[in-house]
Symmetry: none
């Protein structure tokens, strides 16, 4: 007697998710190019062939991951704008939540960064990643401009302030992932330090 259809689609869904979860870790360690399908299969203790029943190739796996991350980023940016409080308070909220998010899943942001950076990535992946980063950049940029109007944030080229704040975030992320022991820190960094860059 065959498995029921629901049973089958549940199994497929679980397997698909599991492949993505496993791949996040592997891609983060090696990057898209240096990751072999064999690595993912081994990490997930499954056959290589199985992976191809769910994804047509490596790139497709990577893309599925990026897309899954994206929805989270979109929400985050939107919620920040909808927070109660002054622009600076909204920005602080964004930094806080984003830092916490990244600190717990350091791999995610790195995969997006790779998608952005790596020239070997298919164009479509670039586009998805770009859109994602752009959303955060624009949100921060907008909040900084508003904060300057309300004199919470220093007078300075808002583009440069945005770049600096985001550089901190991204740099922290990279550092936290790869060289925590080198960075002489323990625990999630204090967002208030970043705020010092821009606070009036």
């Amino acid at each position: 007697m065959p498995r029921s259809d629901e049973e089958n689609s549940r199994i497929r869904e679980l397997r698909r998710t599991s492949i993505l979860d496993i791949s996040v870790a592997v891609f983060a360690k090696k990057g898209l190019g240096a990751t072999r399908i064999a690595d993912i299969a081994e990490a997930g203790d499954m056959s290589q062939g199985l992976i191809y029943r769910y994804f047509n190739n490596k790139e497709e796996i990577y893309q599925a991951i990026i897309e899954r991350i994206q929805s989270g980023t979109d929400q985050l940016a939107q919620q920040a704008l909808q927070q109660a409080g002054t622009p600076l308070e909204k920005l602080r909220w964004l930094l806080e939540v984003y830092t916490a998010y990244v600190w717990q899943r350091p791999h995610f942001a790195l995969l997006v960064e790779q998608a952005l950076i790596n020239e070997a990535m298919p164009e479509e992946m670039h586009a998805i990643a770009f859109k994602q980063v752009d959303m955060i950049v624009n949100t921060v940029h907008q909040l900084i401009i508003e904060g300057q109007k309300s004199h919470e944030i220093i007078e300075h080229d808002p583009g440069e302030l945005t770049a600096m704040v985001l550089a901190c975030l991204s740099g922290l992320n990279a550092g936290a992932t790869y060289i925590p022991q080198m960075l002489k820190i323990s625990g999630q960094p204090d967002v208030e330090l970043i705020v010092r860059i821009i606070k009036a």
Copy 2:
């Protein structure tokens, strides 16, 4: 008529340097794994075979680049400590020079970061890159501690301050390289903004 020995070794030196210069750009775009020897040969308009007369394999090229960068970093760190002035002034000098350096050769720091990050890198490369970053980290860390003693720098876990300052630098670098147009900035960022993080 055979070339003279000096002539030959001069040619060899030029060629070697040229291979390294070309490789920096190629590695920065694709990373070690995704870069093919053919890519380098093509970028330098030379045969693949020629490259093997100067380096035994791909990794050796990468390593030569990292080592070449290293000497610059070492000097920089040393010079910072030898600057006249207060600890904060020394730190400011370091940030200034380092930012300028990176701004003009954005690829260099990225290659070091890759060497640090990428698990596919041979262990030796990790070590070299680690040593390099460690030197900067330690220098900044030391200056921050000294600055706290002289009350130029805020009371705060010095490890965390170090992490934050370096995160800015590394994040700026990545951003500057890959997404300058996205970052709404033009020209080298203002180091004074980073100093705001730590200034008492």
Copy 3:
């Protein structure tokens, strides 16, 4: 309530036949090597696993088809010899019936031809197909010799005449299957034209 045994074996027989029927079309299009079990399953709207409950592997399906065709060929050859009339009349009858048969099931002869031709075929299949073709060749050959004795058929190397007649049949078959529109014909070809080759 379990199905009765007869019911079961009836279902099995139907299914087996259906798999063979479907496979004929698929094999004819792609050949043994390029046909995937998945293709057959899809064409028959059944699962891949099911096919393996009836046949142990791809080759076995192919072989079952060839064997099924064989019995028809055997009968045809025998009946031709037993027809009333002169040798040429017997031959004409054979050509007529064979052409009609092929015209209606163009795939059959092609599968036999493939079995004969394709080096990737297992030896056993070669043997079966060879035996089949050989029977037709010998029958035609024999009738031609007899026809020459009765002066209905021209004096000429009987082997060559046989080859020519059969070449017509096989060529017509291939053409009819694949390029009918190219061949500018409509309807079953006129056997009398083939007879012209040999008629005294």
Copy 4:
């Protein structure tokens, strides 16, 4: 000192030709689908990788072969029309030359037939092969119509006569290649037998 450019391109040309020559035999035996690159490499006593320096994939090799054959076919058809003599004499010339050609290189026509038949072939290949066969079909068709006007050729649907003549050729070819011993013939078949089909 590097090889001279001419030397290199001579080597490349030789190698390319050699790969094509070898592939003809292998493809003819197994067909496109069942032929592995490894088969060709082995038959030519070269590495698999080398083949990919000359052709991007199996299909490209096949196509190169078909195209090489095409030029020969084109010429043949044209020359037939330009022969001196009556339409039937032209046709006889065509059959003669074509039979001789095929008899000496039996694989060629088979590869074209495969390209026409096999559904797994890329569309482009179909087109090339179709064009080739179409040229011969049209030439024969035209000569038959002219021959009917001059009463050298029997009154009968010219399409059907064309089909029959070409069926003979193609059938002979297939037979000659695969089952010569079965066909009880020795030496090239007598074209005059085919002519009997159509001669008034």
